[in-house]
Symmetry: C2
Subunit: 332 residues, 2 copies
């Protein structure tokens, strides 16, 4: 029989649907070649390829001197404007905030035809350092309350350009979604004295059923209440509210972990589309016992339809422990 | 400049992104023929076409005698099982509920190549009566806390079969998503003495900017804080917590309203994929001043990507009042 399972930090239920269950290898993409293998090293029409850089949009490059390896630029079509005053307007039933904020793109690598799963740990670490550097910079803007770091890989995950890139959005408000988790985990802390994320991680380390990979500073597992197939969380083992407090050796380990996990998807499922998100505390909430930053990796292997929109409950036809076992077996 | 707008009943923010703004007619589908026009009246391989009925799955037909016009059947691959005991298990950090519930499909019409936008008001009313009838039946099951009525039209909206059909899922728990709205609107009522939905509807009727259609019992408008292009709500003008308390003349007017709104999408945007959901109160909460049932219509014209997954904030490149004006101009 199917099961409804609750995520302890979001309180969201999911349906793990065994009547509709698919085996993990049913999710292997049918395209013959990985997305990136169909591309060329350099695309003359790509605005992110070396020699085609849109210099008016440039923020900074890493390394600062010589040929760039990563490059932060303004989004040409930003969702929010970096200039302008922050204003909140209440008028009758309408509540609005002026659309100020930051919307940056991080070009992850000069090569057009690569992706995180194919990069070296050093290249991925440089990307994480770029996030770190840009995050600290955006954080200086007192209008900003929340920073979202994310990557869309593949068309089904919302990527419109193929050149490997990520995005950073600085928001003038803490999203309701993030506020809700803070409320839930704060109550959990008040009740138990524990961080809910630390508790969940310890449980995963103990049971090992849903573990995908472990190193000194990070643990990757498929969620017990995974809303979609292969939905993973990568948690820092030391309690910390923000990605921006990471030490250099933690970024080393996160780079290795991301490479490992994304290679398991790339090789095991043949380069599926995915979203990757760094979920971290609101910028002005610099310390507490119950917010724990982490990375989530969401392969886009199923669709949301009316039921999910109407209930917020996702139907997942993949059994989390089977998905994890499949990924553990992939030879990276 | 872009704006962040807050939905007053969900507290969710959306970004109405004018830098990326598209004109309403940019959303017209590029397919040459409407989805339904490419199909035949009868498909020998369709399990929902007359003569191919899977009789073992049948629940009931309407009308009860003679040729059926609508037909309720069990889903062959149900997300939840109708048999079995409701049990809740807490074990360490894991919280689960046995997957019991109802998962029914409503075949909306004997014709394979039709869709709500092409049906008569009488045919749509019979569908609504089928929902009503099945809802009252599912409600008798004391294990059920919440019923979700929904329709996926088109592949991008998650429809896997082309024959026009809807689904009904009876859940053994009130989803967190629905509970959150109840909490928000209850606080609004406590503060103001008003139903937030009634207040929102009165505001839309007064401003008329985002109105799409109005009749005696229903109002359809594009949301002020629409998370995606052409995202509409259809509210009953009389405060009522549940679809299941609708009177026959209200169902008449809802059928006409659905036909009107869906024809505007069908003709104006050339048969886009959409989800339609009836959002109604938990079955055991039969009366209050702050829950107001309604229908939501969500054309699937944009993708959710990493930012939406990470923040819960949707970026909508369509200006709601422009979307509404476009739909009002469509000749139905």
């Amino acid at each position: 029989m199917a099961e409804l399972r609750q995520n302890m930090v979001t309180k969201e239920w999911v349906i793990i649907a065994d009547e509709r269950a698919k085996r993990p290898d049913d999710y292997i993409e049918s395209h013959q070649q990985a997305i990136t293998e169909t591309q060329t090293l350099y695309d003359p029409d790509c605005p992110f390829c070396p020699k085609n850089e849109e210099l008016d949009l440039e923020i900074e490059c890493f390394p600062a001197k010589g040929a760039w390896q990563t490059r932060a630029v303004h989004n040409r079509y930003p969702a929010l404007s970096k200039d302008g005053n922050l204003s909140r307007t209440f008028k009758g039933v309408h509540r609005k905030i002026s659309g100020v904020g930051h919307h940056e793109v991080v070009v992850e690598n000069p090569r057009h035809n690569t992706t995180l799963a194919l990069m070296s740990p050093e290249e991925i670490k440089l990307l994480l350092e770029t996030f770190y550097h840009r995050g600290w910079s955006i954080r200086k803007d007192s209008r900003i309350e929340q920073i979202i770091y994310f990557k869309n890989h593949g068309e089904r995950a919302g990527a419109s350009l193929k050149h490997p890139h990520s995005q950073i959005i600085g928001l003038p408000v803490v999203p309701n979604n993030i506020r809700n988790r803070i409320d839930v985990t704060r109550r959990y802390f008040d009740d138990t004295g524990d961080c809910a994320y630390c508790t969940m991680m310890q449980d995963e380390l103990k049971s090992q059923e849903r573990l995908v990979a472990v190193n000194d500073h990070f643990v990757a597992f498929v969620l017990y209440a995974a809303p979609s197939p292969f939905h993973m969380w990568i948690l820092p083992r030391n309690h910390s509210v923000s990605f921006l407090y990471s030490q250099s050796e933690e970024l080393d380990d996160l780079a290795k972990m991301l490479r490992d996990v994304l290679r398991r998807l790339y090789i095991g499922l043949r380069d599926p589309a995915y979203n990757l998100i760094i979920r971290t505390a609101p910028v002005k909430e610099i310390s507490n016992d119950y917010t724990h930053w982490y990375v989530t990796v969401v392969p886009r292997l199923s669709r949301t339809a009316g039921f999910e929109l109407g209930s917020g409950i996702f139907i997942n036809p993949a059994i989390p422990k089977e998905s994890a076992a499949f990924l553990r077996r992939v030879k990276v």
